[in-house]
């Protein structure tokens, strides 16, 4: 019942904040958002799951209540967590309070609506990561889009309308494609499943329950469904060439929204890829290993190259997210314990690091009202603490050992270098590693020109040290990044436990 309480409380909190006066909506939202965090910590401390929720492992905190029936299959309220979803739940509840605090300075109109929507989004995100029934999951999945659309469209930058519509249309079209893909799978399963519960469907597919549908042979159908779902999720992740909505959304979104967009929303895509494509249809995935690995490596290199060419600090961080997500895809497709586990770990690590980067860029923007690399220099003189943390976070991005980013990338490379399921694995891994060099290149050059040297600023704003409530979330994030880098096992143990059954889905016939 803790999960229900968690989601239900967050919805109620959203409503309360929506009705609160603008003056203290931000404070109230922060206070209320600490409770879900406490709840997720209690989920973590009492976690007793084992294995992967979809392949018959023990699901922690599972509840299943029948909701309705469609075409002979039941739809139920079915939630629970395993080693893959729990870290993401913790990540979500951890990032939201920090993002709310980081909104105190930049958000100066319609605050109660802003914070209400943030909490509404959090509730739905928690639903996405805990739902184990396809319908329930899909409802939450789509419900995340609505607050995001408003958050970008109402509080965004100058081109907010374009960015919001683009985000909405891209991800909705993608959702439809994915929905059709999944539905054709359930039709092909015919009478062998009696519900939309993901574990039941996964096991029915593993037992060879797929039949013919719409004149397609089971193998063709599974491949088509795999591709439809892969394309649908690829937009969300995003993977090159479906990434073009991301920089627009990020640049126009206000900082706290960017934090959640990069920190949590992108993980919805990789999480869903892992759950649906790689756990349900491992055969199809490994058959397509080479093209998918190629796309992953292209995302890494091309995203980094694009970041190299940007002048806007936010765009740099946005494109480098594309690059980082490429590593996650590479980790998933190799189907090794460390690859899949590392990819999941990297989701959390990247959530923290990119959150920190966006927040730090936001702090600079609050003071200078510009994000352009050429417009400022020597910021370190004026905002020493914030800049110090930004530099530390950037090193985390580059994969400095003892920080979370290093651990995630290291696991992925260990897993992918000699992966048996992926031909030419060493070549793909080496190419992806090359991405880190580019990351170091653009981050160092951007930091050098903006943060160091004599202080200069194109705009006429008085720049002093950032207020405490701007810097505090940065510091908290940095601490979390270091803790996770020093002791990755606090998450990696349970992640690996849940990743192993996924890997076994392929090695059996590989």
């Amino acid at each position: 019942m803790i999960i229900e309480a968690l989601i239900g409380f967050t919805f109620v909190a959203a409503l309360l904040v929506l009705l609160a006066p603008d003056e203290w909506a931000g404070r109230l939202a922060f206070a209320l958002s600490l409770l879900p965090f406490a709840g997720s910590l209690s989920l973590w401390s009492g976690f007793d799951g084992a294995g992967n929720a979809l392949t018959g492992g023990d699901i922690a905190y599972a509840t299943q209540i029948e909701w309705l029936e469609v075409g002979g299959r039941t739809v139920s309220w079915f939630v629970g967590v395993d080693g893959i979803s729990l870290p993401l739940v913790v990540l979500t509840t951890f990032l939201v309070p920090l993002a709310i605090v980081s909104a105190w300075t930049p958000i100066d109109s319609r605050q109660s609506q802003f914070y209400g929507l943030m909490l509404f989004m959090e509730a739905n995100l928690l639903g996405v990561f805990t739902a184990l029934d396809f319908f329930l999951w899909f409802v939450f999945w789509e419900a995340v889009l609505v607050p995001m659309y408003f958050l970008i469209g109402v509080w965004g930058g100058p081109r907010r309308k374009y960015a919001a519509i683009k985000f909405f249309v891209y991800t909705n079209a993608a959702s439809l494609l994915m929905f059709i893909g999944f539905m054709s799978l359930t039709f092909a399963l015919g009478g062998s499943v009696e519900s939309f519960a993901l574990p039941e469907i996964t096991q029915a597919i593993a037992d060879g329950g797929l039949g013919r549908f719409a004149g397609l042979a089971p193998e063709t159908l599974a491949l088509a469904a795999f591709l439809a779902m892969f394309l649908g999720f690829a937009v969300k992740v995003p993977i090159v060439p479906f990434h073009t909505w991301l920089p627009d959304a990020h640049v126009e979104a206000p900082t706290p929204v960017s934090v959640l967009l990069a920190g949590v929303l992108l993980k919805m895509g990789t999480y869903a890829l892992l759950r649906f494509n790689f756990t349900m249809l491992p055969e199809q995935a490994s058959a397509l290993a080479v093209p998918i690995a190629a796309i992953a490596v292209i995302s890494v290199i091309y995203g980094a190259m694009l970041a190299l060419a940007q002048k806007d600090l936010k765009r740099i961080v946005a494109y480098s997210s594309v690059s980082s997500m490429g590593y996650v895809i590479l980790g998933l497709i190799v189907f090794t314990e460390y690859g899949v586990g590392g990819a999941t770990f990297q989701m959390v690590a990247h959530g923290l690091i990119s959150g920190l980067m966006f927040m730090a860029v936001g702090v600079i923007y609050n003071a200078t009202h510009t994000r352009m690399v050429g417009d400022m220099s020597g910021m370190a003189d004026r905002m020493p603490v914030a800049v110090g943390i930004l530099v530390a976070g950037a090193f985390g991005y580059m994969g400095l050992p003892l920080m979370a980013g290093f651990a995630g990338e290291f696991f992925i490379f260990v897993g992918s270098f000699s992966a048996p399921a992926l031909p030419y694995a060493p070549i793909f891994t080496a190419l992806a590693m090359f991405g880190i060099v580019i990351v170091a290149g653009y981050l160092l050059s951007a930091m050098q020109s903006t943060l160091f040297g004599p202080f200069e600023l194109e705009t006429d704003y008085d720049v002093g040290p950032a207020p405490f409530h701007d810097v505090a979330p940065l510091a908290v994030l940095l601490v979390a990044i270091i803790v996770l880098g020093v002791a990755p096992d606090i998450f990696f143990e349970m992640i690996r436990d849940a990743a192993v059954p996924v890997v076994e889905g392929v090695t059996v016939d590989g």
């Binding site: 999945w141 789509e142 419900a143 889009l145 609505v146 519509i165 249309v169």
Partner: protein
Amino acid sequence: MVNTLPQVAALLPVFLLAFTGLALLLVDTISPDARSNTSMAVGAALGSLAALAASVWLVVSGTGSADTGGAITLFAEAIKVDTMALFFTAIFASVTALVVVAAHDYFHDHASPAAFYSLVVFAATGMALLAAANSLAVVFVALEMVSLPSYVLVAYLKKNRGSVEAGMKYFLVGALSSAIFLFGISLVYAATGSLLLSDVAEGIGSLDGLAGIAGLGIVMIVGGVAFKTASVPFHFWAPEAYEGAPAPVSAFLSSASKAAGFVVAFRLFTEAFPVGASLTAGIDWVLAFGVLAAVTMTLGNFAAAVQEEVKRMLAYSSIGHAGYVLIGVAALSQGGSANGAVMGAAMAHLLVYGFMNTGAFLFVAMAERWGVGRTFEDYAGLAKRAPVASTAMAVFMFSLAGLPPFAGFFSKYFLFMGAIDNGFLWLAAFGAVNSVISLYYYSRVVKALFIDDPASSSSLDAIDVRPTGLYAAVVFAAVATVLLLPGFGPVIETAEAAASALF
């Protein structure tokens, strides 16, 4: 429980509506001093809520369902009360209640609003009767009972050119289609020798060379249904009438009146012209409805996408939704396992649509009451001044588009799923593609309300009143649209059971 009441008690909702309408008319005629806009609205609202409560109670107690001895027939089988009739009566009564509550504020400065309320309630009475009609004669009489007040209602603002013109167009097309419908009935009578639906069905089974006449009659009846439901090819009155009519009337026509058209279709094409017998006789109305459904939804959606006025966009969107619901008839097949499922889903969609579409038109009524203008641009920035109403409108728009967190998603999904189960993949594909297109124009409204800046700083000053009744109706419709998502189970189960009883 039911056995202790006389069978005629099954018609309680119809009686309640008729009594309310008569009482309103009586007070208005006998003591004009006693009437006031408020008392009339309250009376009409109470009457329709009582009818709603009665029909829900009858559904819950199982009146006319297969579990309690099957449908109740009255008056020499001219009337037949079953779960479907009661289900639709509940839709009509809830839409009527929403509309009269909203109309109280809309007609706040009208000289004689009393006639409005009695006309709405009389039309609702006709609809409730239509849902229970078991003879072609009753169908026609009830249909006219719906149509005649509707013509007057559309032209109710008699000093407003648009309203009168719309009423005139509606009346001319309506009279024509009534004539066609009646001619169709007479041909069917000629071919089968009866007006009772069950006898007609038997007659269809043994036509002896009269299949051509019966077929022509059925085609004409399809035409009448198309008019009432605002489907192609008799749809062109709808944008004109909905746009010109007072917005509460547009809400009433596009939700309740459309549902009334569908209950005729569902009733006739299961009980009078069953799929199997019709196909054997060579009358393939399934294909006709399939083509109509596909064309209607496509035309409605594409036309809605290019509109500049919100009310006109909603009018075309309502044509598009008629296309979706037509799948409920078009995806039937002989002995199909999902016949009940697909028609039940169509009924559930009409129920959800009754709330979301009525709510959307009532929001337009609120905008008309404020006098902010009619186009998307005029709606820009309304959320700054009216956040609650705008949020409700956003809920209606997303739900109409079939976005998952709202009830509209489920009803559409069940509909398409039923069509696929019955082997009509192409209809489901048409519906899904159209749903995606519809997101474009529905989200334009949301974008205007929340994201666009008002045209000028003074353009929001028009919002100087908070009409309580309109607000209450809009907010209630929004809450219902949201709550129908978790509560969709009982709705779809009742609807499927009701539809399955017809096959």
